[in-house]
């Protein structure tokens, strides 16, 4: 029996590329803010962080992620968690993200 999970995880990452950090202008996946996407049974979990604790955009970014998952993955229960460990550093930005930063 085929396991659909890897494809769905990739779809989640692709969908989350729509969420742009409004200050930096780079999407949260390329910024390295999405730590983990797991799909277990019918539950889709996303662990994400922010560039700095206390970031005023935390509410906005969380809402954007929840909205996007709600629109695109209606067959799943969704759980979005904001985490601080490990602490984000600029080293986590992907090559693509670095190119966008110029």
């Amino acid at each position: 029996m085929e396991n659909p999970t890897p494809d769905i995880r990739q779809e989640v990452f692709n969908a989350l590329r729509q969420v742009i950090d409004p200050e930096i202008g780079v999407n949260i996946v390329d910024l390295g803010l999405v730590y983990q996407v797991t799909v277990e049974k019918e539950v889709l979990s996303v662990d994400l962080t922010l560039t700095t604790p206390g970031c005023p955009m935390s509410g906005t970014i969380m809402t954007a992620v929840e909205n996007i998952l709600e629109i695109n993955f209606t067959n799943y229960e969704r759980a979005v968690q904001l985490v601080w460990s490990p602490m984000w550093t600029p080293d986590m930005i992907t090559e693509g993200g670095r190119r966008q930063l110029g």
């Binding site: 700095t52 206390g54 005023p56 996007i68």
Partner: protein
């Protein structure tokens, strides 16, 4: 992995009125400049200059810093603001106190209303201190940033207290020493204790954050904090009890503290992943460059180098202008466009992101006006300084006109942001759905 809490941002009505009041006050400062060209020919203790200084320092800079800080404290200290009610009360008292003080100074009415203004302002500073200290106590850890912010608030309180004593002393003389000695202390406690410490504390956190840079260690900042406070404390004690000729030594301590902060920012800039600076950050770095001028002049006015009285008097004026209309104003002009668009954007679009195509925060203001504002500000400021130094009213007037243009451009952009409303938004359509 531990889950974290969501946004700590305060209600927009706590923050935004500060920006509106400050923008109006900045416009008032520039218009007052137009009517005060004659005042720059004499001593700094002049009704028009006292009015100008206090509207600039309280109505413009302190008001905007209060507002921005209520938004930024949760960012830099990583916890919620202690009390939004205290913040609203401090706003009202600061606004009323500033308007009363300005009217009293302009008319040189040193009676009861001046005392009322002083009491309003002092009370505003007390409430602000309670809010800042309690917020810092709520923070998960006490850092060097907390030291800078809490200490700067304390210096503000002391500055306000001394100001109140001086206001009472005008009509009921009781202070044992010359009024100008207290004025000098009042000014320096405000400049180095309140503005400088606060800007270093918040700037050392925010500038690397905006640059996407993580400079390692805080030793330079700790030494910066120690040196600036030591210099200022020694200056105050010296002036109160001894009046020695060691003032340049105290100035050197403060300058060394600033130099360490500059070194920290230089390292942050070198490590930055964001190499391109937007207009707000460009203006911030210009402000840091402008800080060099008062750091040089402080030695000329504090050391007895035998300057002629008219030149020394003009230098005192340039010194004050270079701090308030130079460094502090330049920094605020830049940082307004790093903070206000986000605050407004967040409140207008927070629920819509991910569902609708929303503009970005930088789309909420006119970048061309901002560019023109930054240019007019620098041109106006430099012309004004030259006019004051040369004691040339026509040059002062020319500088004031260009400076007023900068204030107008700033005010238009600020109110354009404050009055921003969401238009009909287009829904986002995703290429592939898994529903």
């Amino acid at each position: 992995m531990p889950a974290a809490s969501v946004s700590n941002s305060p209600n927009k009505w706590v923050v935004l009125p500060h920006f509106a009041f400050a923008a109006c006050a900045f416009l008032v400062v520039s218009v007052l400049l137009l009517f005060s060209t004659d005042a720059f020919a004499g001593h700094y203790f002049h009704p028009k200059l006292l009015t100008l200084t206090h509207v600039a320092v309280l109505g413009w800079a302190t008001m905007l810093i209060f507002g921005a800080l209520y938004q930024l404290l949760p960012v830099v200290l990583e916890c919620k603001l202690y009390s939004e009610r205290l913040a609203a009360a401090a706003f009202s008292l600061l606004a009323v106190g500033t308007v009363l003080l300005a009217i009293c100074f302009w008319n040189f009415n040193l009676g009861g209303w001046l005392h009322v203004a002083g009491c309003c302002l002092f009370l505003a500073f007390v409430l602000f201190n309670i809010n800042v200290y309690q917020t810092a106590r709520l923070a998960p850890k006490w850092t060097i940033t907390s030291d800078f912010i809490v200490t700067s608030a304390l210096w503000l309180l002391l500055t306000g207290f001394l100001g109140l004593l001086m206001a009472i002393n005008f009509t009921n003389p009781f202070l044992p020493k010359d009024h100008l000695l207290y004025l000098k202390m009042h000014a320096h406690m405000g400049m180095a204790g309140w503005f400088l410490l606060l800007i270093i504390g918040v700037g050392s956190k925010l500038i690397p954050m905006f640059l996407l840079s993580h400079p390692k260690g805080t030793r330079k900042l700790s030494w910066s904090y120690n040196l600036i406070n030591a210099g200022l404390l020694l200056f105050v004690v010296d002036q109160l009890f001894f009046q020695t000729t060691y003032l340049p030594i105290y100035a050197a301590l403060v300058v060394a503290g600033v130099a360490l902060f500059m070194w920290y920012i230089y390292e942050a800039r070198a490590l930055a992943l964001r190499k391109d600076l937007d207009l707000g950050m460009q203006q911030t770095f210009i402000a840091l460059l402008l800080l060099l001028l008062p750091l040089v002049i402080v030695f000329l006015v504090s050391a007895e180098v035998g300057l002629q009285a008219p030149l020394l008097s003009a230098l005192y004026l340039v010194y004050g202008l270079s701090v308030f209309l130079g460094f502090v104003t330049a920094l605020i002009l830049g940082q307004t466009f790093k903070t206000l668009p986000f605050i407004v954007w967040m409140h207008v679009y927070e629920k819509q992101v991910g569902r609708f195509k929303t503009p970005l925060p930088k789309d909420l203001y006119f970048p061309k006006l901002l560019q023109a504002q930054n240019f007019c500000y620098l041109a106006g400021y430099i012309t004004l300084l030259l006019g004051v130094l040369l004691r040339e009213p026509s040059v002062i007037m020319a500088g004031s006109i260009v400076f007023t243009a900068a204030a107008l451009l700033y005010t238009v952009n600020v109110f354009h942001m404050l009055l921003h409303r969401a238009r009909q938004l287009e829904p986002i359509t995703y290429g592939k759905s898994n529903s």
